[in-house]
Symmetry: none
Subunit: 210 residues, 4 copies
DNA sequence: CATGAATGAGAATTCATTCAT
DNA sequence: AATGAATGAATTCTCATTCAT
């Protein structure tokens, strides 16, 4: 296995003794597998797909969690970046926001491990990648402030992303119809048009204020 | 084990009285544990908490799945019922809808296994309990038709519940603030006020139609 | 369960507190079950079929083995008796022998536990029932001495019974054809007609004596 | 476990050399244990005797049945081969047949799992090894046709092997005397000498035809 | 430094036997 | 004395991590 120059199952193996290439192979394979199956994957599946042995994998990442963290860091960053780019091209702040959600939900919401982890850590941003995402949202929030109903915060937008991301995962892969409707609904709810402001501070559990 | 007079975590060891008590202990413990940890729990943890031996547990529920199904069935039904009751007392159809969401999200959205299962099966209602929930939502949807923006379906409302349910799980237990804001946003997005209708049929992946 | 006068699954339950009846129920159920499934049966299956509780069963037979031994004792005796009776009616000693085998193989060779145990203990007759069977065979052997090739012993005839009994178990229940052919072959091999005698004493591992 | 330098029951722990050695250890240990105890063995016993951990065993054989099948396949083939070789050297077709039985019964009839499986599958030859054995018997049957009483089939000879194999298992290991006598008897019954033919086709349950 | 085989602590399930009622 | 629920050790199989080569 891992014959120099030949091709295993998926990835190419370091043709020479360059550890960095191996590391990349592992991360790439792990990203795929984590996206497909979430963090509960068997480490051996990752080793298999990356074309390296278990020993090599564990040399680079002494614990499964180390590898997972690394991959999530990277994938979160890619996610943030792709969504940010989608937002940049928009003609106005509101379009930027909607394009951001479109892209974020289309591109990465099927990444099981991403969503799994996003759900757990969106608020404390322990992962660098999540922090980036938060920064993007923060900027969008600021820029679209005029179109947004008053009181909407970055955390609101992030939680909405978590929430819709889950809706995406839960609906049929070939049918973006369902979650798109939900997105439309939510975005309309975020609009300034005639809606009363959201409460600015802590007033938990309040029923509708009328 | 199950020392007389002492108290385990939850129930008494039911010195013998009736097996029904044990069965209840098991279900109750399982409900707790499933709520906390989802369906991936170790069966032994359930046995431990209910104060019974493995054999007893397996006498009542020959397969782990039997126990899980029983608990989910029961908890889904309780969920549907509690949410329905909250809706009944409302003064108008719209209030019924909002109260329904309030209650549904407050009461059970922390139940990991419930949400886990809801996410997987909300659309096919294989579980009796989910079917009940769907019926409730269906009725609410019909009754609030005037207040809802045109085109909103039962499936939309259910997916919204899945989605917000996840948001609840993801936010701090002692702070309903965050998800409540999201609920407000979503409900406003569902309102008829000046919003264009949602597309009635298949028009997937459309950006905002304007 | 075990309602007086009513009928459970198979057996009747002791209508009054007569332990002897219970004991009989247990033995009869055990006999059935052991015949069907061999000694590896679940004790609960026996309790179920006999209509008594586990406690009662274990009161009568403190160990599974006690019950098994009792049943085997009884069934071996019945076996010996039925085979002996078949032999008694025969018109001559040789016919007695063949009728004995016919009956022995037809009647009990499907009794899994019997055959299982017969295989293990045929030579030391630890069980009373096996001893009876041996006595029957001994007598048949003596009476048919003239028709049997010289040197054939009771042990030969018993081992043949073990051996053919296995053949019966191994062949299709509805086709006695196969094992009947084997029986014919073996019986012919036992006949005096022109065959040299079997070695009288210990000459183990000898190839054909020429 | 598997202390270097010490010796378990059978093999060395194969310090690493090659997994093939371990695989062999496992198969060899399994063969022994299966021979001794039949297919109901505890997998751990096999792991213990081969000096490997459970994980190793399960790496090589993902299911208990895989291991059992592998061992049975191999041992059946060895059996068929050894018996066939014994038959080849014989001076005439009849001697070939008797030598075949001698060898078949001497070599493998103590192998519990072999006989267990042979009993279950002798007629449908699902296992490759059994098929080989059947082919050998078929050839012997054809070649010895002149010496055999008319009507004897391959199935008769196979069932006889099953039957005598059981007799071997049932008799004392150090005394081949007993089953050898039975073999002599059966072989004589198979001879053409003055015996009426066996019924060619279906005439089940017939008593002696006279 | 790479490899992938080996490890062994779990996790689900079964069943002889005990014991509270 | 009868009941059948409760017990828990034993059994098959999995997977993160280590280690010999």
């Amino acid at each position: 296995m891992a014959v120099a120059g030949s091709e295993g199952t998926t990835r190419r193996r370091a043709p020479r003794a360059d550890a960095a290439l191996n590391r990349e192979s592992i991360i790439e394979a792990a990203s795929q597998v984590l996206a497909e199956q979430g963090t509960a994957v068997d480490v051996r599946e990752i080793a298999r797909r990356s074309g390296v042995g278990m020993g090599t994998l564990y040399r680079h990442f002494p614990k499964k969690e180390d590898l997972v963290r690394t991959v999530l860091h990277q994938d979160f960053s890619k996610w943030a970046e792709s969504a940010r780019e989608a937002a940049i091209d928009a003609k106005d702040p509101w379009a930027a926001l909607t394009d951001f959600y479109e892209q974020a939900l289309t591109g990465y919401a099927r990444h099981s491990a991403i969503m799994e982890n996003f759900a757990l850590t969106w608020s404390d941003s322990e992962l660098e990648g999540i922090h980036q995402l938060r920064l993007v949202v923060e900027e969008l929030c600021t820029r679209a402030a005029d179109s947004l109903r008053p009181g909407v915060t970055t955390d609101d937008l992030l939680l909405l992303l978590v929430s819709l991301g889950h809706a995406v995962q839960v609906t049929d892969k070939r049918d973006s119809h369902m979650w798109n409707r939900l997105l439309r609904i939510s975005l309309d709810g975020l609009r300034a048009d005639g809606c009363e402001p959201l409460p600015t501070d802590a007033s938990p559990n309040t029923r509708r204020p009328l």
